[in-house]
């Protein structure tokens, strides 16, 4: 019998490890995903569709889409600007700026909501002034957007910075020597090089924006049909013991997660193929 190469395990050990990992992942990941759909259809398809077709559910979906449609582009522009500053230039305080961008990762979503309440809430710093001018931020759409923007702040920048750092500035410098101006360089050299990484960052940012719960929960006030996003609507239904309805709405976000994962895998595959074609 031929012995195995020096750097692998024997077949039984290998299959034992694979089995353990499969067990862990199915108990941990597949089971919850499955549970969303099983619970949603527990009382039949009629209940499922009825739960989605209520006025409050539709308004929650609408609000979620609006919040994402505003905060994702904002953070995309920021991500591009921050990555451009940090990777194409050297300046004092660069390392500090880099860690400040990561800061929201270390802040609880609840605190991300709280800070806006402290600023704009009824008893907050600007509360009286806002009340006098009849402007509503907290318990209304602007507050929800601000909270979402805070929480999803680093996603695009975090995806772009390592990518652009690895690519270096040689191609940009070549463009300069060929007479390109700043915008031409950005649109024709930089952007085509980072488009897949950018898409990936936008996907993650969007998934988080649509699914954010803690921060939005603090600033929304849970006004049904008005300031409930989809995740908040799920909470309300769940706390009212309408489990099937709650899970029915949860399937929408579950599908969002699956689509995000699918697109992410596709993007990775494309970039991987391109990378291997270059070698």
């Amino acid at each position: 019998m031929h012995h195995r190469p020096a750097t692998t395990e024997s077949a039984p050990v290998r299959w034992l490890l694979i089995g353990l990992a499969l067990l862990a992942l199915s108990l941990f990941l597949l089971l919850p995903l499955l549970a969303v759909f099983v619970e949603a259809f527990r009382r039949g398809a009629d209940v499922f569709f009825a739960a989605l077709h209520t006025e409050s559910a539709l308004s929650a979906v609408r609000l979620t889409l609006i919040a994402a449609a505003i905060s994702v582009p904002l953070n995309t522009v920021f991500g591009l600007a921050a990555a451009w500053t940090i990777t194409k230039h050297r300046f004092r305080g660069r390392a500090l700026l880099l860690s400040l961008i990561d800061l929201p990762f270390a802040v609880s979503p609840v605190i991300a909501g709280l800070v806006w309440v402290l600023l704009f809430g009824a008893k907050g710093w600007f509360g009286p002034w806002l009340a006098a001018h009849d402007i509503k931020i907290i318990f209304d759409l602007p507050g929800i957007i601000l909270a979402t923007v805070f929480v999803t702040f680093p996603f695009v920048a975090r995806e772009l910075i390592p990518l652009m750092e690895a690519q270096g500035s040689d191609q940009e410098l070549a463009a300069v020597t060929l007479g390109a101006n700043g915008w031409q360089m950005f649109w024709r050299v930089t952007l085509p090089n980072i488009k897949w990484g950018l898409l990936y960052g936008v996907l993650l940012c969007n998934a988080r924006a649509m699914g954010e719960f803690g921060a939005v929960s603090v600033v929304s006030g849970h006004i049904r049909g008005k300031t409930n996003t989809l995740p908040l609507h799920i909470e309300v239904l769940y706390n009212e013991y309408q489990f099937s309805a709650a899970f029915a709405c949860a399937t929408l976000l579950g599908l969002l997660a699956l689509v995000t994962l699918g697109l992410k895998t596709a993007v990775e595959q494309i970039t991987h193929q391109r990378a291997s074609r270059h070698h």
């Binding site: 019998m1 031929h2 012995h3 190469p5 020096a6 750097t7």
Partner: protein, 328 residues
């Protein structure tokens, strides 16, 4: 301890890496496996080490007459030095060298003090005294290579295997380390097999050179044999610069003799297209007249070029020694 490689085959899927390789490495010799990338030389070295398995049922590897084909890498008693050193970055130099001694089974393991003793002996042997507490990243490439060698020698291997040992070093260090390794080998006299794609390295270092190409051995012999008596055109072309004549014969640049065009014994006349003089040597490029295509490269002495007052554009005669024809 001699190594005997007997009809080894190795395939990776549809790709044949080694095709019926047999080779004898005499006890105490320094043998070079020389070839371009993809010739199978590294695969052969890894099979000798036990890092790779030959195809089932193909052949055997014998150390001093004992079949080791089924012996795992860790029990073969080989010292293997990797091209990029593969030093353990989280360990000190001393810990790296001691690794093989530390992981021995309890029954055979040396005492702590003995291990320390042995490590400092080895550091002395590779001339790195006093660097025991350093980390690999604090050392130069040449020093790291010698640590890798000391680590491989620590387990008192029966044979030493080196994979492109100087591949990652710059030209100057390469040359120094090459001479040092030759002396070192003469001191310790351990059967050594090393892989290289650099013909100069193989010719300068080895007692025996094995030229490989496309999964096969092209020629085996002393450096002198290989250089002077190449058996195939591949070996001819691989071992240094060579002119290929239109009739398929080969001639090395230093074998061509420069003469005046009108002189006796001129085989070809041509025009000097380029002349480069450096130190005592001159490189002369000659474009043959009478419709021959391609240029001939001639190496002459500076004295001769100056004596003949040679300049670019001159017409000149070339004399060839008797030539052999080769199979392609």
């Amino acid at each position: 301890m001699s190594i005997s490689i007997q009809s080894i085959h190795k395939t990776f899927g549809a790709y044949t890496a080694l095709d019926d390789i047999s080779l004898e490495v005499p006890d105490g010799s320094l043998t070079a496996l020389l070839g371009p990338s993809g010739s199978g030389k590294t695969t052969l070295l890894r099979i000798v080490a036990g890092l790779e398995m030959a195809d089932p049922g193909s052949g055997r590897i014998l150390f001093h007459g004992n079949d080791v084909s089924e012996v795992p890498a860790g029990k073969r008693g080989v010292g293997f030095v990797f091209q990029h050193y593969a030093l353990f970055t989280h360990m000190t130099i001393a810990q790296n060298i001691a690794f093989g001694l530390d992981v021995m089974p309890h029954a055979r393991r040396l005492k702590r003090a003995e291990i320390r003793e042995r490590v400092s002996e080895l550091l002395h042997l590779v001339r790195l005294d006093g660097l025991d507490k350093r980390r690999p990243h604090e050392l130069s490439g040449g020093q790291r290579q010698r640590v890798a060698l000391a680590r491989a020698l620590a387990i008192r291997p029966k044979v030493l295997l080196l994979d492109e040992p100087f591949g990652a070093l710059d030209a100057q260090v390469r040359k120094e380390l090459r001479r040092w390794l030759r002396q070192f080998h003469d001191e310790i006299n351990l059967t050594t097999l090393f892989v290289t794609h650099d013909q100069e390295e193989a010719l300068e270092l080895a007692d025996q050179v094995v030229v490989m190409r496309n999964a096969r051995i092209e020629q085996t012999g002393t450096p002198q044999d290989i250089y002077d008596e190449p058996r195939t055109s591949f070996v001819y072309e691989f071992l240094g610069e060579v002119n290929k004549l239109p009739d398929g014969r080969y001639i090395r640049p230093h074998e061509i003799e420069l003469r005046f065009a009108a002189e006796e014994g001129v085989d070809v006349t041509g025009r000097v297209s380029h002349l480069f003089v450096a130190g005592p040597f001159a490189r002369v490029s000659v474009a043959p007249e009478h419709g021959r295509r391609g240029e001939l490269e001639v190496w002459a002495s500076r004295d001769q070029v100056e004596e003949m007052a040679l300049a670019s554009g001159d017409v000149i005669g070339l004399h060839f020694p008797p030539l052999k024809k080769l199979k392609s």
